[in-house]
């Protein structure tokens, strides 16, 4: 490829080879190669779960890989055992959600843990710190009072402070060409701040390399020199950004290799007539505008939209976890009282959360205890929970949901991601839910388990459960759903039917989303 010839002129700053990282039940990275050249902006793209975050976490020593080597510019093999070691090699990261200490000032944050250089007679000299802070911040072109606490400045300034800190640290450790990793840097910025950021990044290129991770493909293509694409924890390809088009990159990210019936479209059923969920004039200030929609018996309705489109807010309101400002939600014609999860659960609304470990499971409790949580009342004999009925119920749903567990009393934390997810689904199924809200049900589970989760979702639809679903990828949304609701900036912008054999293509929808 042309781009590679071009690149070979430049020196690499860091080379990762054959990096493999395994989480319980998931291969996050499978022998991935990644190099950063000097003075470049490299865009790292891929779908959720493609392994971008894991890869950069390994680069900053936050995680350690099971296999693979990391080589510095001098050809020396290096071990990045923690973020402190990584920064000594000039590798640092600006996190999606700021990693600064909110109650300390800008200056204190800049030099946090490296204040020794500012000692005078054994005490910290605030004056020399202040001077240094000003000159460090000048490099990223921001003018602020360095004594302001971080909690009082805008996200844009915080980001710049983080960048400035990384630059200063790499200078301190005498690294000529530091590597700045920016994870979704623009999600918290407005348009003008975004532009400023990219102008500064282009400047920084003279003295550093930047790894840019963003789900906004356009800004990656426009602002990078080179693009590296990952998919399912593997390298797909890399190319010069000048050669890349957004649609082509998108296709490469998603891949064409999956089977035609990946989402078990063949099992798709047409929904019943009966309306299960009716959402009327629902709104929440600064999250989403008034929205109306219905879900019918056995229907899978997919909510699509970018992060911040308001779809999460809508789902949170339906499950009672957030209180809407206006509007009402009817389940089977009965109005739900808003902002009460117990009311929603009692009425038959189930919820498969995105973060199953923290919101979906009692990880330290057994599979049986997790599966039986919602139906304990019906497992009683003479007012006391019957161990026999408990075992019986758990066994039934473990079989029904194909949970692979060594025993009923295995701790949930010891199951793989896919089986944990199936445990969460089993919990709701056993309680005979009428409506299930599925928030990224296949996030972080391996291909085999995904297949089984799709199978389960189809079965639920066949049993007449209505579903509101948000997926990891647009393809998954299209493949699974009967109908799609596209949200953008808090508004419902498009409603699309997805009947079997007449599914829309991702490119039809992407225009509405962006």
């Amino acid at each position: 490829m042309r781009n590679l010839n071009n690149m070979s002129m430049k020196e690499t700053v860091i080379t990762l080879r054959g990096i493999t990282k395994i989480y319980p039940g998931v291969v996050a990275l499978d022998s991935v190669d990644f190099a950063v050249y000097e003075n470049e902006v490299v865009g790292l793209v891929g779908e959720n779960g493609a392994g971008k975050s894991t890869l950069v976490k390994i680069m900053i020593g936050f995680e350690q890989s099971e296999a693979g080597t990391i080589t510095s510019s001098t050809g020396e093999h290096i071990t990045l055992k923690d973020p402190v070691t990584a920064i000594r090699y000039g590798i640092g990261m600006v996190f999606q959600d700021s990693s600064l200490v909110p109650n300390l000032s800008i200056m204190e944050n800049l030099f946090l843990c490296h204040e020794l250089g500012f000692q005078k007679f054994g005490f910290l000299s605030k004056r020399s710190m202040r001077d240094a802070a000003r000159s460090v911040l000048e490099e990223v072109k921001i003018r602020v009072d360095v004594d302001t606490p971080i909690s009082e400045v805008s996200p844009a300034v915080r980001q710049m402070v983080e960048i400035a800190r990384l630059l200063w640290l790499s200078k301190l450790y005498k690294q000529k060409n530091p590597i700045l990793i920016l994870d979704e840097p623009t999600t918290v910025l407005n348009d003008s701040e975004r532009e400023t950021l990219f102008t500064i990044l282009q400047d920084l290129k003279q003295q550093a390399s930047v790894v840019l991770i963003s789900h906004r493909l356009q800004e990656v293509v426009e602002n990078s020199d080179r693009i590296v694409i990952l998919r399912d924890g593997k390298n797909v390809t890399e190319m010069a950004a000048s050669d890349a088009s957004i649609s082509e990159t998108e296709q490469l990210m998603v891949g064409h290799t999956f089977s035609a019936d990946r989402y078990r479209e063949g099992d798709q059923t047409s929904p019943g007539e009966e309306v299960i969920l009716k959402v009327q004039n629902l709104s929440k200030k600064r999250v989403f505008e008034p929205i109306d929609f219905t879900v019918r018996k056995g229907e899978i309705v997919s909510l699509v939209g970018l992060v911040g489109s308001g779809k999460e807010g809508v789902c949170k309101c339906i499950t009672g976890q957030e209180k809407p400002d206006t509007g009402s939600i009817f389940l089977d014609g009965k109005k739900l009282s808003s902002g009460s999860p117990s009311n929603a659960v009692g009425a038959g609304v189930g919820h498969i959360p995105i973060d199953r470990r923290n919101e979906g499971l009692a990880a330290a409790m057994t599979v049986a205890e997790n599966v039986n949580l919602l139906v304990l009342k019906s497992l009683r004999f003479a007012g006391l929970i019957s161990p026999y009925l408990e075992r019986k119920n758990a066994k039934r749903w473990i079989e029904e949901c194909l949970i692979k567990t060594p025993s009923l009393t295995t701790m949930c934390a010891n199951l793989s991601g896919g089986n944990q997810q199936k445990t969460v689904i089993a919990k709701w199924l056993s309680s005979h839910v009428k409506l299930l809200v599925l928030d990224h049900p296949t996030r972080g589970v391996d291909v085999g388990a995904k297949e089984e989760i799709y199978k389960l979702i189809r079965k639920l639809a066949k049993d007449g459960i209505g579903m509101v679903i948000m997926c990891d990828t647009l393809e998954e949304d299209i493949g699974l759903s009967n109908r799609m609701l596209v949200m953008k900036d808090g508004r419902l912008v498009k409603e699309l039917d997805c009947p079997l054999n007449e599914k829309p293509s991702p490119s039809d929808i992407i225009d509405f989303i962006v």
Binding site: Y23, P24, E359, A362, A364, S386, M411, A413
Partner: protein, 330 residues
């Protein structure tokens, strides 16, 4: 504080002890530890296993067990109850002062004081949203000083009312009633935690409060209930300590705060909540009681006992605490 990435595979590797790949539940370590300690003390002084001494151990263990079972509820739900000492002191002096005047009514009155304190503790946590550590430190202090106001000097139950104390001081089949009462309380908490929904909810809430809330469990009620059970345990102990000594003083509950926490933890219940149980606490309590009694029996220097106790707590927790279940150790 040590933060570990949530990596189950490595967490399991690091689980305390494994024998040929077979994981042994924490509770067996507690049982084994109890036997070893018991054996050592018996060798040190054969009188350790005399009927008289075993009775002494049992009456202390029964007291500690009541407080510890209550404490366990507070810990399992994800909190801690530092007011158990205050409750115990206050209840015990109120019992002594009131038993002459109101007779058997002193029992329900004292139980009510304990449960009510638990209810107040729970509500300070759930409604005013103050961490239980602080909330119960406050209420415990208040009750401690109330106890001193009620009884500035040690008080005794008048001999005319001793009959009312026979519930504790009598015996059946030559075994002191204290043992039966201890067993009854153990059974009560066991049934509650194992077979009653609200008890199970304590585990769910302690294990994952966000999930419990999203699954429709009333987190407020569950936490309030756990603290009420803690107050109940402490008040029963307060009554019992007055009854078996025919009197009380306002300092009687103080040592039980840390001893109850130690008993719960030594039994293998995690301070982070959600894992552990009644049987764990039983063995934790027995270990603590046997240790404290045995050291005196074999004649270990009074001043040195505390440091041995401290060491034993650390050693027992090393054995019994299942680290794989708690990602963050603080």
């Amino acid at each position: 504080m040590e933060i570990r990435p949530e990596d189950d595979a490595s967490a399991q590797e690091r689980t305390a002890l494994r024998v040929k790949g077979l994981k042994i539940p924490a509770i067996y370590y507690a049982v084994a530890l109890l036997l070893v300690i018991g054996l050592l003390f018996s060798v040190g002084n054969p009188n350790f296993i005399s009927v008289y001494n075993l009775n002494t151990i049992i009456s202390y263990a029964a007291l500690l067990l009541m407080v510890a079972l209550g404490q366990m509820c507070a810990i399992l739900v994800g909190g801690i109850d530092l007011s158990v000492g205050g409750v115990m002191s206050f209840v015990s002096v109120v019992f002594v002062k009131s038993v002459h005047a109101i007779g058997y009514w002193a029992y329900p009155l004292c139980i009510l004081i304990g449960v009510l304190t638990g209810y107040v503790n729970g509500n300070i946590l759930t409604r005013i949203r103050i961490p239980s550590f602080i909330a119960t430190l406050g209420t415990g202090g208040i009750l401690m000083s109330l106890a001193m106001l009620v009884a500035p000097v040690p008080v005794n139950v008048p001999a005319s009312s001793w009959g009312i104390l026979d519930i504790f001081n009598g015996s059946f089949l030559k075994i002191s009633n204290v043992l039966y009462i201890g067993f009854f309380v153990f059974l009560l908490y066991h049934i509650l935690m194992r077979f009653v929904i609200v008890g199970r909810n304590i585990f769910y809430v302690g294990s994952n409060i966000k999930m419990s809330w999203a699954s429709g469990i009333s987190v407020v009620k569950t936490r309030n209930f756990a603290f009420m059970m803690s107050g109940l345990g402490a008040s029963m102990a307060g009554i019992m300590v007055s009854a078996i000594h025919f009197g009380s003083n306002p300092y009687v509950g103080a040592p039980y705060v840390l001893n109850s926490i130690a008993s719960v933890v030594v039994g293998g219940t995690a301070l982070t909540g959600g894992t552990g149980g009644v049987i764990n606490t039983l063995f934790g309590t027995l270990i603590m009681s046997v240790l404290q009694n045995g050291m005196t029996v074999v004649g270990i220097d009074q001043y040195f006992q505390q440091s041995i106790l401290g060491m034993m707590i650390i050693i027992s927790v090393t054995l019994t605490f299942d680290r794989s279940k708690t990602p963050v150790i603080k």
